[in-house]
Amino acid sequence: MYNNFIRSPSPVRRVSSILLSRVQTSIPRVSRGFHKTTTSTTRRILTPSITTTPFQNSCVTPSLGAFTSPYLRSFRPTTARISYHFYNTSAVQHQEESAHKKVIDETRDLIFADVPKVDVKKVLVVGSGGLSIGQAGEFDYSGSQAIKALRESGVSTILVNPNIATIQTSHALADSVYFLPVTVEYLTHILERERPDGILLTFGGQTGLNVGIKLEQMGVLKRLGIKVLGTPIRTLEVSEDRALFADALKEIDIPVAQSTAVSTIDDALAAADKIGYPIIVRSAFALGGLGSGFANNPEELHSLAAKSLSLSPQILVEKSMKGWKEVEYEVVRDAANNCITVCNMENFDPLGIHTGDSIVVAPSQTLSDEEYHMLRTAAIKIIRHLGVVGECNVQYALNPESLEYKVIEVNARLSRSSALASKATGYPLAFVAAKIALGHTLPELHNAVTKTTTACFEPSLDYIVTKIPRWDLSKFQHVNREIGSSMKSVGEVMAIGRTFEESLQKAIRQVDPSFKGFQSLPFPDLDKSLTVPTDRRLFAVGHAMLEKNYTIDQIHNLTKIDKWFLYKLGNIVNVEHDIKHAEKLENVSKELLQEAKKKGFSDAQIAAMLNTNEDQVRKVRKEYGITPFTKKIDTLAAEFPANTNYLYTTYNASTHDVKFDDHGTMVLGSGVYRIGSSVEFDWCGVSAIRALRDLGLKTLMVNYNPETVSTDFDECDRLYFEELSYERVMDIYEQEAARGVIVSVGGQLPQNIALRMHQNEVNILGTSPVSIDKAEDRFKFSQILDQIGVDQPEWKELSSAEEAEKFADKVGYPVLVRPSYVLSGAAMNVCHTREALHENLSEATSVSPLHPVVITKFISPAAEIDVDAVAYKGKVLVHAVSEHVENAGVHSGDATLVLPPRDINDHTMARLKEIAQKVAKAFEITGPFNMQIIKKDNPDGESELKVIECNLRASRSFPFVSKVLGTNFIDVATKALCDKNVPEPVDLMAEKKDYQAVKVPQFSWTRLQGADPFLGVEMASTGEVACFGKDKYEAYWSAIQSTQNFRVPKIGGGILVGRDDLTNNDDFITVASALSKDLGHPLYTSSPKVTEYLAQNNIKATTLALPENDKKALHQVFENNNIDFVFNLAQLRASQTTDENYIARRSAVDFGIPLVNDSKCAVLFVEAVKRKRQESSSQAPGEHPSEVKSWSEFIGGKFC
């Protein structure tokens, strides 16, 4: 018994009956003897509690003696304890023995007497998988920190995460990596194979948590004797099941939003009658509030409940508290019951908008001490009661007119908010949480920033941070722009300032550089835009203030945003009026300019108001001596000296915190995660920094994305958490006198300012920005390709519809239309007919000499190839050729990539290499570059190879090709950029591999209500995953299962197939025939035409009538026919939501049914299913599928 007791990671002092139930199925749970010296008599009477303690029968004496029992201490040799420093920090280690160390040394026995040591040598860390809305890059950050912490403690780690673009999936951190689906089946295989003695479930988001709970429920962890480290499973279950959770909090008199758990629509309506409208519906076990929403009346509730119940077996009906403040606390608890709140945050938007979609400030600004500490005390009480061991997030609703509050949610795991809190405070939450999971206590751990003080403290912020989400909803058609209780944003930014105005205006520019700051956008119905929150409400407020002269009261009444925030926005508006009033830059006094900078105005923003340009404002500003000051983020408001390198700039200061004698190399990060740019560029940035440090160079990172590893201050020598604008990058470059800037690893954003920096004598490392500009300018690029004899599809820039149609007629349809000015809908489109082109040009775009369109011949059908390469002085050093599964026409970011390709012949491979070589030479490339090439096969003769795109920077496939080929392309590129230790060229594609890897996009359709799940020339995926296999079938099999909400078709399940006139007949028949004949699935279609076509090919199918507007009836149709899977291979984008193919695709998403929407992928998938079904039938029991192998087993070595 005592053995168990000592190893238990979770001492819980007072355990609720809810937490106690099913305790037998969980790991042995026991609690410590936390006894008060004196207990209030009344409390004993009034709040009976169950106390579990192993001493209950043996040595219960409610005295302090129990704490220092020598009997306890004998179980833990104190010599095993050492104090840890934060991993790999460049900053100077503390020289003298710190007071903290002394105190800890003296009190070691006391601190540890009560803490169980967790004895593990090998731990499996569950990752979160592909990036999706609601679960993004923050889990790369938290997982990386956890692995660092484990590694530092000498624990070997196994990581399971199919997200190949992450930094955590590297042998620099984990000892073993599995690129496999984070599902119960695969994890069971891996656990059986690796037999770790511990598992960490709280670092992989909701995915990791859900899988962990299932593993426990299935008894896998118990069977294999694997300890759950940190927060115990039962706590996770209670915090996840809203009904249990509400009951648990009731036990400690903490108010929870009143809610009723229901599993039918009728029950939901009945519950709502009792509670009263408006109602909020939430679904249990869902990512970021999926399937949640508001209902004002029974009709709305009916349709909402129907949808939510299709996503979750149980929903909660709760009273809506619209207009209340929303406040969050990040809490940490160790096994000795020490608790701290690391950060609190307040939402700019009142309750009603998911916190992930809210503008958030930290710390809270409108809460009094009474409110702040009431909620803080409650948060600590909650996590003690629930028994969290590690990190936890508590969300509250606070009545703006009283002390009334309610708990909305508790996340007993690292979350998006905790990543934000980490970056906002400098406190490494994930690292500390991992240490606590290993049995360390807060007082013994060092504050990673000061290194001389303890981790058991609460950061004090002498700045304010503002987080703004990034949505990208305009990328999708038919999507609802309203935001609410279900999260829709794809990324977020964090800005640091010393006034709210400064941090907010920075954040607005960070979200989208096309915004210059707080500004107005036109809204036809302004009052509605203020009342009903959308992704653009902040600019509706701007419109109301700047253009419509609304008063603060009016805006407050419409939006319910706290007036304090609105007053601050008013300050910005006042400065703006003052500047506008000055009319000319000459009239702007030094004081006014200073005031504007203190309020966060950018030079460009000021210039736009005065009809001048940014350079002029910059010049005048510098003449006045107005330049930003660099301040440190040190967790304790400068109270103790801290050698931190975590920096930001501000105009609200008079001194610098640092000296500028590093002269480091600047690496510009990728900025906000958005569709088209996400974690892969963070991997590139971090890889570049690591390579620079390996070369012995000082590094300086500029980035502002709180979800990244590149903004971990232990990754570089200096971290500027700052804007990536020309203005700010120049400020930093000049101040630091940096020796050079790398602009080619952060995606497109840094490239956009490269040329201007170059023109202003900034040393841009590698390829000249003049070449970058040539590659980006369609005319110059095309001219150069012609000169070097590289083929490209025909294109022309045209300024009238007639010319456009004439050109299209000449080159033949289909054509790709890229307007330079877009009115609505997606920017690019493929037009298959003259009518379609005509419609496109007249409806969606305006064509004129001012707004020309570019028309390109669209080659179809053709294969597409991605070439990623690194060159040095015009010579290719390494290159990778990946084959797209989909035909050309699907955006390369949404494409399924196969590497190394086995379906391209040696001759073509050689020609591809030659093209890369020619391009590298023509543009004198030094550094990374990427090309997309179309391959059109000719029955007689060699394939046509046409370059469709070329970027002289790292691309999103760099981490994939690096990890598959076992050569870090960014490492090579960085050496080339620095002209140091440059390796000899090597042809990686010449080495034959016995494996293939497949990269698959991760979509977030479920989140984007109404959006058409269709693949086209505009990118729509939010993330990606990749898996290895003996061939592409096996790799695709596990890769596609790694995507969220995907599962393989159940044997015998009904399959809905669909197509349109452009669908490839061969592909369609291959898929249908395999599904029906080989795999025995009943087929259904939504149109008699398709059924007829299948019948002609001897394939039996049933036609279903899909109701257009009645979701419930539609659901019934799916239910009645046991539809388990949808293949919709239509090639034309739906123009209306009544399109049968749109309905089929959208239903699949809304009803949680897997969807395949590309014909080439469908062919690959059915082939993989056929092979795998065969393989598993011949598999011996206990044998693992052949794809269950670690990364190093596949590539034959360990690789960083």
């Binding site: 009344t42 601190i111 109270e639």
Partner: protein
Amino acid sequence: MSLLLRRSFVNPSSISITKALSITSLQKCGLATVSDKPFTISSPPPAPYANVNTKPPKAALKLRSGEVFHGTSFGANIPVSGEIVFTTSVVGYPESMTDPSYRGQILVFTQPLIGNYGVPGLFKDQYGLLKYFESDRIQCEAIVVNDYATRYSHWTAVESLGEWCSRHGVPAITGVDTRAIVHILRDQGSTLSKLIVGDDAANENFNKIPYTDPNTRNLVSEVSTAVPVSYNPYGDIKIAVVDCGVKHNILRSLVKRGAAVTVLPWNFDFNKISDQFDGIFISNGPGNPTKAMETVSNLRKAMNSYKRPMFGICMGNLLMGMAAGLDVRKLRFGNRAHNVPALNMVNGKCQITSQNHGYALVDDKFPPSWKKYYVNVNDGSNEGIIHKTLPYRSVQFHPEAKGGPEDTEFLFDEFIDQIRSEKVKREGTKFFVPETIDHRTAQVA
């Protein structure tokens, strides 16, 4: 128009006490009041841009070590001098500013945005104690902030921070790099400073007033009550509070647990009447503890004879420590924060505490009957002492919070429980427990 209105928010001359009072009476009727001054973006600013004269008055701060900081004034137009100290608390300026422990000090807030939620009214609770403040006036000499919110928003607020400061004759400066000041104080240690407002500030005319060192005065006598005052007289246990500058929340914490409290002047010799009390409490207070030697000698007497529970907070810890035979030292720049980890040397638990002190006990050697109770995990300084056998103890931090974390509030429970159980032992009778006990705070940490 807009400029004129904006000026009115910050110009102290436009603020009257009567206005604040009228709002207060409104609030009593149950109307939540927030600042609703018209927001004037409608009209363009007057032409041309030349509003230097409409700007708020300037203010300047000079440290004795020589550094000068310029900013604007938002409080009273009076020059002051005092010891300059900083607090790293992130919330609770009304509580801090009315804390008598800040007497004589110019307070720098590292929290950059100040005044956001205004200042609440002078409401009293059922015991006659102030609901939102720690004493009935602003105690610090002046405040120094980075960014003052001219317009506030909160349901308890009746006036702005600037209006409040002006009414109390307390100058305030905003627009100052507070982090730079912290750097100076941290590196050089505590120093004196002067704050001047108006034309003098523009001209750096600091010589009008001398530097004054509050620590040479007996600050405790300045803030202590002149006569004994009782609260909750019918409580079942009676506690004498030696008022060295007691925060109202200490009194609230005692009376809401059912105790009858008698607040005594700092130098009142309670030994004469100590039999009337079941326990003695020594409060927090400002300045140099060696100025309160009368209290120390009273305590020394009590420690030898009075066997009933004694509890001290902050200054109370220093005075009890001195009475027990320990020395005190002045800390380099003091501990003023809401985030200080204090390790309980009895059970090894670490708690986050609220602090405000410039002196500390020297605790490397202990008199035989005493031992360390709490220690600061960051700098190793003393955070409390406890008697080995008798029910005497004290802590350097503030379990009563206000502002700051409530994690150590259980110390009041323990003190009260101790008093009750001693009383039961002594008198052998049962006692009734009043219903006013707050169970929310009765959780042990």
